[in-house]
């Protein structure tokens, strides 16, 4: 059976809400477990890295364009750190390569 995107949206929203609201309501004591605190600290970096690569390669019509966007994105993020610079930079690379190579 195929689920509608609406079902997914509502379900996601419920899970996200529970994560945000449980510590404010039921579990008011801070997390003291050192492993769990460390795990929560590293999770965002790891999960975003895993979601970015190699998915960026297949998000464009050629692995080459996505690969170039990945490298330029890392360089811009390292040296500028500004979110818009990185975002726009990645898009411009793909646009340029698409225009030049065709």
């Amino acid at each position: 059976m195929k689920h509608s995107y609406y079902t997914y949206i509502i379900f996601m929203a419920l899970v996200t809400y529970l994560i945000r609201v449980l510590p404010l309501t039921l579990l008011r004591k801070p997390i003291t477990n050192r492993f769990f605190r460390s795990f929560l600290y590293y999770v965002p970096y790891v999960t975003l890295a895993v979601m970015t690569f190699p998915a960026i390669l297949t998000s464009t019509s050629s692995l080459l364009y996505g690969g170039a966007a990945f490298i330029v994105g890392i360089i811009l993020a390292w040296f500028s750190g500004n979110l818009f610079v990185v975002e726009v930079g990645c898009c411009v690379v793909v646009l340029l390569m698409n225009t030049l190579i065709h």
Binding site: K2, H3, Y5, Y6, Y8, I9, F11, M12, A13, V15, T16, Y17, I19, R20, V21, L22, P23, L24, T25, K29, P30, I31, R34, R37, S38, F39, L40, Y41, Y42, V43, P44, Y45, V46, T47, L48, A49, V50, M51, T52, P54, A55, T60, G66, G73, I74, L76, A77, W78, N82, L83, V86, E87, G89, C90, C91, V93, V94, L95, N98, T99
Partner: protein, 260 residues
């Protein structure tokens, strides 16, 4: 305010507004404008897998989280099971647990359960930052103003992104496909400059993710499940090898860290 005959520009007036709702809104509008641009790229990703403009709007209005929404988009496109989706959302949004714990300490003991239930809804990295930065006990009305000044823009940005992806020429919408990844890189790379463990974790994650997508054994698993398993394994390993020092709650600011 103004008794000494000093002329007050409209900006001043808002600045000195006693009404905490308007103060919250004023403080959050720069955040909202940043949100619009970021959630636009989420809209591009959602549109690519067939979300309608309204579904994009609803997704962002109800979830208000970039990495969680993106993970959800990927998994829903794969028609993933709901247990898997719940686990993935927990992992992608795990840091909100920490923020929620931290903000919980700022609620006045006399605050009502209603305020806790409603403020939990809009706890993003940036709005958490506003709440923590405000002095004294958290003023719920200030937070509601902040939500009102930013969350609608977040939802509209996604709707607009879905729409743009549908109407722009292919060459432009293809270029916009990488915007979301650019945003993720801007979140994970700069902290790696200061913290070599984070940098190492990011590089290992890139490599293992690539490996898992080509090895026959793991390549057949859906990409959502791979993300979930890899995240849990890598983050646990790093946490075991390099646990944080025992300091009081370390704050994390990751998602959409543009300056406001």
């Amino acid at each position: 305010m103004g008794q000494n005959g000093r002329s007050i520009s409209p900006g001043d007036e808002i600045y000195e507004a006693k009404n905490p709702f308007f103060r919250g809104m004023r403080d959050a509008i720069p955040i909202g404008l940043g949100y619009f641009a970021v959630s636009f790229s989420l809209g591009i990703a959602a549109g690519n897998v067939g979300y309608t403009t309204f579904q994009g709007f609803l997704l962002s209005l109800l979830n208000v989280s970039s990495s969680g929404e993106y993970a959800g988009i990927v998994l829903s496109a794969e028609q993933a099971g709901f247990i898997e989706l719940a686990l993935m959302i927990c992992v992608a949004n795990a840091r909100y647990l920490l923020m929620s714990f931290a903000l919980s300490q700022r609620f006045s003991p006399s605050s009502t359960l209603f305020h806790r239930l409603t403020i939990g809804f809009g706890l993003t990295d940036e709005l958490f930052g506003l709440g923590i930065a405000s002095k004294g006990w958290l003023d719920p009305v200030y937070m509601y103003g902040a939500f009102f000044g930013s969350i609608p823009l977040w939802a509209l940005g996604t709707a607009f992104g879905v729409y743009a992806g549908n109407v722009l020429p292919v060459i432009l919408s293809e270029a916009l496909n990488v915007a979301i990844f650019g945003m993720f890189l801007a979140i994970i790379i700069p902290p790696g400059k200061k913290d070599p463990v984070v940098l190492g974790a990011v590089i290992v994650s890139f490599l293992l993710s690539l490996l898992a997508s080509v090895l026959p054994l793991t390549a057949s698993i859906s990409s959502g499940t791979r993300t979930l398993i890899l995240t849990i394994i890598i983050a646990s390993a790093v946490a075991l090898l390099f646990p944080l020092k025992d300091e009081p709650a370390q704050e994390i600011r990751t998602e959409t860290t543009e300056e406001s």
